[in-house]
Amino acid sequence: MGNLELFIPEATILAGAILVFTISVMGGSQRAGWIASVVMAAAGVAMSIVYVYADGEPFFPGIYRVDAFSQLLKVGITVGLLLTVLVSGRAESFRARTRADMPMFMFFAATGMMMLVSATELLTLYVALELSAYGLYILAVLHTSQREGAEAGAKYVLFGAASSAMTLYGVSLIYAAATTTYLSEIAQQPVTPLMVVGVLLALTGVFFKLAVFPFHAWAPDVYEASPHQAATFIGTASKVAAIGIIIRLMFLVGQGHAALTNVFLILCVASMTVGNLAAIVQRDLKRLLAYSTVAHAGYIMIGLACFSTAGVASAIFYGLLYVPVVFCAFLVVCVLGSDGRNPSKASLAGLYRRSPLLAFTLLVGMFGLAGIPPTAGFAGKWFLFSAAIESDLFWLVLVGALNATVSLYYYLLVIKEAYLTPPVDERPIAVSFATTVAAWLGIALVLFVGFYPGPLWVLAESAARAITGE
């Protein structure tokens, strides 16, 4: 057995799940459970930060690796969890009877995601993948409206199961080619066509999670029909975990196998373009964010397609900053949709007068997604593009920058609704204390990384080195 202390961040989140469950079973109020979940999520963030430089193996050798890479992504996952929990105080979009238990599923899913980014053995990896997915499947079903919940749940579970099956099939092919399930040993094996097919299939399953075109079809429907906080969680923390698993798998066949590189490049360009073009015509804010997620999955693929340390580092950097950036947008959805319905672009009218804080949060989120300074999105885009040019992908940067301009159009339209259109309903919007804290936290993170990207970049770079071994 290894050093069990290294498992403390995951254990904290797992303890959070059990604590929330206990409070719920003992008949505690929803509020008590929620406060416990906020405390435990904050403790999880703290523990992840404390152990961010940890290195070693908590369990049997070779199956579970704690290194700069896994620990940094765990910080991203726990921050996503904390932010989501902070806006889940009332959770009006969840079915009333499930509100007390809801945080438990988030915690279980987060535990799974944290284990996922550390898993270095194919079966451990698969189990962690399922563990992280089941929590999300349940969260998606719990919408106040039975019909919506059933729709989101059915779509998510069916798509998710199909993607899991792909991954499992890929895993079996990798095993057939390499006759081992340890990633470190697989990487030593000669690259055979069977192995490349196996890795591609395994990656396909994860591309579903990240919503990369053409595996993105579930995202808009699930985002639209699941409760707001569930969508927030799916849109933030689960993306970080998906990036982690892709990076672990893609280097199994050496640095940049031609077939893999081509697939990455095609998916990258298609994802950006389809996501952005489809987002232009959306009226429902959550659907818009879903398509923008598809586009951002494409941006992240720019870094991955480089198959270099700088590329992986920039993808990690972007994946991490994406959490607070997109959270700022989701926060507004959670508050505006407190009646359980989805806010549309039109419902933003006059937001600057009804709640200046919400309007500003939305502004920061939209500028962040569009990559406008001084938000973190600008630094993220710059680093992705730098990595691509270093890998001689000049044309890819042109395509990426063109897409960023297209995306600016619909982000500006959202800002226009919030800041220009006079309000239909003059009543001020009440924002709870926890939500205010979450909003300022999100804004502070986005602006801090935007003005001073240095520290996070250093961490992302050492995380990338842990994988590429340079």
Binding site: F378, W382, F394, V397, A401, L412, Y419
Partner: protein
């Protein structure tokens, strides 16, 4: 020299204005205006101090302040000024200060207005002062984006359309800049973003320069109102409120020209020389075309908007002549930078005068006016001064600037030079037309009730007129400063 980081403090003036504006409650709008005026005044004073402290005999880059920002990527926060940056810093602070004063009567959403405006000026200062390419582009994009809300909320005449058009045009320019600028960094070895270090690295082959130069030139050129990518500019002017028009034409368009000068020509001299004939031709077309279109316009702001395209064409022509000479033609460079300054002050004055009239009449059609010179003599005289300056009449700053550019152009590209001078005739024609129709001509009794510029609001305009005359009669003052660019080495 003391170690007081005067450039950083100057850069922080608009940032302080932004932060204080956000902290002050929105209902205390007089306090917000006061704070902004104070910060703008502080930046103006600092800009003058920079001008005085800058050692012209040494030249090169001075007052450098450098902090490592992202060391592992070679990104630094580096601010330094050369003669060109000193001149343009003064221009920015002048337009900032007079812009705040000319929006003194604003009543609608005052807090947000000044917050966006301070963010814009923060970006503009950042561009003029930065020597690090990452910071340069960071501030460049920061300066562009506030234009969207500023025009879309407080503007007039198809404001949402114009605001979106402007933003997307300028961001499309950034599409070309992203790969172009990053390619410079990667090709030079990937250790530094410092513009001077990049220029001196000698790592750019002729082929590479010829390939990358148009990306950077056109990318920045869009913001400089380069023909044929100028379409956003006149519509943006027409829609924008007074102070935003002043900033837009006064300094924002200079960012583009400055980017070409500071980044494209400095880092890629061979590429610049290769492309100079093409881009000089486009610039000349811009001069003639802008003036030609302005002749047919009836809206005050469209006329000035197209005249800006024409005048920025002179700047670009000068820069291209400078590029064609491989940095030998000092006259062209001096003229181009002088023209940036003179045009900035002149258009600020133009828009300030037109904005004053529009605020009262809500009309900008020159055919609806007549005899304004007798109705509002002070405001009209401001407009007339700006108009004379636009024509390049001796005694105003533009005269020297245009003269220098044309002399240099005639030496290098005689045909283009002659065409550009012909463009000046059109300029004289449209200026005369406006003056004779709206300022003089038969008096329109509808506007007899107009109130002229008061003692308080006249201050900013008087400053601008004084600056135009000062540098018109004493051009050596500014030319000495700009000429020091050629002297000395790096920072």
């Amino acid at each position: 020299m003391t170690d007081f980081p005067i450039l950083t403090v100057t850069l922080l003036c608009p940032a302080a204005a932004l932060l204080l504006t956000l902290l002050i409650p929105g209902r205390m709008d007089r306090l917000i205006k006061g704070v902004n005026a104070l910060c703008a005044l502080a930046s103006l004073v600092l800009a003058i101090v920079i001008w005085i402290r800058f050692d012209r005999s040494v030249g090169g880059f001075q007052m450098t302040h450098d902090i490592p920002w992202v060391p592992s990527l070679g990104i630094h926060y580096t601010v330094a000024v050369d003669g060109a940056a000193v001149v343009l810093t003064l221009l920015t602070s002048l337009v900032f200060f007079t812009g705040v004063l000319s929006m003194w009567t604003l009543k609608e959403r005052v807090k947000e207005y000044f917050a966006f405006m301070a963010a814009l000026v923060f970006g503009v200062f950042g561009v003029f002062l930065s020597l690090d390419l990452f910071a340069f582009f960071f501030f460049y994009e920061l300066a562009v984006l506030p234009m969207y809300p500023l025009i879309a909320i407080w503007g007039s005449t198809r404001k949402e359309y114009s605001a979106m058009k402007l933003t997307l045009f300028l961001m499309a320019g950034s599409v070309l800049l992203f790969p172009g600028l990053i390619a410079l960094f990667v090709r030079s070895g990937g250790d530094t973003w410092n513009i001077i270090a990049l220029a001196e690295s000698g790592a750019f082959s002729r082929q590479f320069q010829i390939f990358v130069y148009p990306f950077i030139y056109i990318g920045f050129g869009v913001l400089a109102g380069m023909f044929p990518f100028h379409g956003w500019s006149p519509t943006g002017h027409v829609a924008a409120p007074t102070a935003v028009s002043m900033l837009h034409a006064g300094v924002l368009m200079k960012l583009g020209a400055f980017g070409i000068f500071r980044v494209a020509i400095t880092c890629l001299p061979e590429g610049a020389a290769y492309w100079a004939p093409t881009f000089a031709t486009l610039a000349t077309i811009g001069i003639v075309y802008g003036a030609f279109v302005a002749m047919r316009q009836t809206d005050f702001k469209y006329i000035i908007g197209f005249s800006s395209v024409s005048h920025m064409g002179i700047v670009l022509l000068g820069l291209n002549v400078y590029a064609a000479s491989n940095g030998a033609s000092d006259i062209a460079r001096d003229g181009a930078i002088f023209q940036m300054f003179a045009h900035g002050i002149m258009t600020a004055l133009f828009f300030s005068a037109v904005g004053f009239i529009y605020d009262q009449t809500h009309d900008r059609d020159i055919r609806h006016f007549g005899g304004l010179a007798s109705q509002v003599p002070v405001a009209s005289s401001m407009f007339i001064v700006a108009a004379l300056c636009g024509m390049g009449v001796p005694g105003f700053a533009s005269f020297w600037a245009e003269l220098l550019v044309f002399i240099a152009a005639l030496q290098t590209y005689p045909v283009l030079g002659v065409c550009a001078i012909v463009g000046l005739i059109f300029t004289a024609a449209y200026v005369m037309r406006v003056l004779s129709t709206a300022m003089f001509g038969p008096r329109n009794p509808d506007w007899d009730h107009l109130v002229d510029v008061g003692a308080w609001l006249v201050t900013p305009r008087v400053i601008l007129v004084a600056v135009l005359l000062l540098f018109g009669f004493y051009p050596t003052l500014i030319l000495d400063m700009i000429r020091s660019v050629g002297a000395g080495g790096g920072p």
